[in-house]
């Protein structure tokens, strides 16, 4: 087994991307994810890859589009305001069915906000922040180890389904150091017969595009339905989640990323006080692990969603827990404040 | 002087008339009839005078004209 190393979350993502075969990385600086470009600038040349600091977030995501169209594994990373700028490219990449990975180390918003970790981009990430009918696969790791593992998974899913995958972390996860066992280098990659490699006489030209202008023929209608058939496969096969002490729980806490860790601590402390609490932590936010949540909530008296925002994931919990909306409560702190364990515990105790 | 002849794929033509203007021998003119798109297209009224200079073909934005030469 490989050795344990102490790494920042941001660095773990970068190294895992390299090990996943990512050889092209384009980005524009923004806190709190600057360790990723700094790491890639040093690391990629060692493996014959290309690091390029783009002139803007727009340029970076479109360089990713070009590099993906050309058949490579490629990535960009940013934080909330920069991810807003990338939405154009994310929509185009999704429309053109290109595989790519984008990392969002969320910070406080709206606007310039602040640079503390936050979770205000859940809607933008899971609903599709750009124009049109599409989905991005959103993976929300909760530990440095998961940041490495989920990055590998993101590249795998991106290539398998030809979709955009987002690693959705926050500033705290990005800056935090924890021991991590790095994944092995990926050696085998799927073939990409659709990629732009130069039109040879033995095949037709490859075209990568999202324009489907022929409205009368329903070209875009059919294209979008095909996209959603693909999304359905992802929903059927790729959900990830963690359940912790849910079996006999009266109260289920739900949260992702940093919030889930606060909740886990709260669950442990509540259990010490004789209160049966459990944690349900979605790891994929889209596809949302609906069945798993419903199973976890089956016997619960109350479900509490905790977020570092004013309530975004709670909508998915209400939709998918299989319970009355009245059974779902919410507690959140916006603007880069982490909900305190005490506040979560108080909230749960108020249900007794 | 070379001898040639313009081959005009009239269905590709959009009737812009740029070819007529650049012909040094002035042997192209617009048709009376129209093509499938409903526009007039160039016709060569004096093939014997064509010098295969290819200017009409070069000017054409729609690849309507090819030139045959001896």
């Amino acid at each position: 087994m490989a050795e344990k190393v102490l790494m920042k979350g941001n660095e773990a993502i970068a190294e895992a991307a390299v090990r996943a075969g990512c050889r092209f990385y384009f980005a524009y600086p923004i806190t709190p994810q600057n360790e990723i470009p700094a790491y890639m600038a040093k690391r990629l040349p060692e493996v014959g890859g290309t690091f390029l600091q783009a002139e803007s977030e727009l340029a970076a995501i479109n360089m990713v589009m070009g590099a993906s169209a050309a058949g490579s594994r490629c990535m960009t990373s940013s934080s909330s305001p920069g991810i807003s700028l990338k939405q154009e490219g994310i929509s185009y990449i999704s429309g053109a069915q290109l595989p790519a990975v984008v990392v969002n180390m969320m910070r406080g918003g709206p606007g310039l906000g602040n640079i503390s970790g936050a979770q205000g981009d859940y809607f933008q990430a899971t609903r599709g922040g750009g124009n049109g009918d599409y989905h991005v696969v959103v993976i929300a790791p909760g530990t440095v180890q998961e940041m490495a593992d989920c990055t590998l998974k993101a590249f795998e899913i991106a290539d398998k389904y030809r979709v955009m995958c987002m690693i959705l972390g926050d500033g705290y996860l990005g800056q935090m150091s924890e021991p991590c066992v790095l994944p092995e280098f990926v050696k085998e990659f799927p073939a990409k017969p659709w990629a732009l490699t130069g039109k040879t006489p033995d095949r037709k030209q490859n075209k990568i595009m999202s324009l489907k202008l022929s409205g009368i023929d329903g070209e875009l209608n059919a294209h979008t339905k095909a996209l959603f058939e693909n999304y359905q496969k992802i929903q059927d096969n790729e959900t990830m989640s963690e359940t912790f002490m849910c079996d006999d729980a009266d109260y289920i806490l739900t949260g992702y990323g940093t919030c889930a860790r606060v909740c886990k601590k709260a669950v442990k402390m509540l259990r010490e006080q004789g209160i049966k609490a459990g944690l349900f932590r979605p790891i994929t936010l889209w596809p949302f692990p609906a069945k798993e949540l419903e199973a976890a909530c089956k016997n619960a008296k109350k479900i509490l969603t905790v977020e570092m925002s004013m309530g975004q994931m709670v909508q998915d919990v209400k939709l998918n827990c299989g319970r009355s909306v009245k059974d779902v409560d919410f507690y959140g702190e916006p603007g880069g404040i982490i909900p305190s364990v005490d506040a979560v515990i108080e909230k749960v105790k108020s249900y007794e | 002087m070379a001898k040639g002849r313009p081959l005009i794929n009239k269905e590709r033509c959009k009737g812009c008339g740029l070819c007529i203007r650049v012909c040094p021998k002035k042997i192209l003119e617009m048709s009376k009839e129209t093509n499938g798109q409903g526009v007039s297209f160039p016709v060569c009224i004096d093939e014997a005078s064509c010098i295969a200079c290819s200017m009409c073909a070069t000017m054409c934005p729609d690849c309507v004209i090819e030139i045959e030469a001896e």
Partner: protein, 183 residues
């Protein structure tokens, strides 16, 4: 057992590095560990802090709300973080630079002349190393002596600065071998 520590001071005192070294030392002993630094604009203007957890069980939340230990290397840090301590928690403050007394009565306190002790080991910039040696001594069960810090320094320090590792170890060792009067 779980120990939650906040290191705080001004930029240049090496508080984030000290936290990182403790984290690595804990990792080398197969403890569960986490380290979160203050970062970005927060670091401009001179103050820095980090949260370190060393535990025998999985770290649920890496966020420290009520630290077991606060290490304050300058006065503003003490003022800010003293009130965070859990009742009965330990405040280690750098009495070389801090000329006020802690105000809380429900905590334990340790006046540590970190700069002076560092200077005594000919390591004028080693106040953060003094802290590490002191922590290993006064937090029993967290780190077993000085040895784990050798590995940690080797991991944490860049090649360019590795030449200072022996003197830093000496400083940590000297601090570890002292007896402390916790009030």
């Amino acid at each position: 057992m779980t120990t939650e520590i906040i290191f705080a001071g001004f930029g240049g005192q090496g508080v984030i590095l000290a936290g990182k070294i403790l984290t690595l030392a804990g990792m080398s002993e197969d403890k569960y560990v986490s380290h979160i630094p203050s970062y970005g604009a927060e670091m401009r203007g001179g103050t820095a802090n980090c949260s370190v957890i060393v535990s025998d069980e999985e770290v649920a939340s890496p966020v420290i709300e009520k630290p077991d230990v606060v290490v304050a290397l300058n006065k503003p840090s003490m003022t800010k973080f003293e009130k965070w301590l859990k009742p009965g928690g330990l405040l280690i403050y750098n009495s070389s630079l801090i000329d006020i007394e802690p105000s809380r009565k429900d905590i334990r306190t340790l006046a540590l002349p970190a700069n002076d002790m560092a200077a005594e080991t000919n390591n004028a910039r080693g106040a953060n190393m003094v802290v590490l040696g002191c922590l290993a001594k006064v937090c029993p069960g967290m780190i077993s002596g000085v040895k784990p810090f050798e590995f940690a320094l080797d991991e944490a320090i860049s090649a360019r600065n590795k030449k200072f590792n022996p003197i830093n170890i000496a400083t940590i060792e000297a601090a570890y071998n002292k007896d402390y009067d916790i009030k």
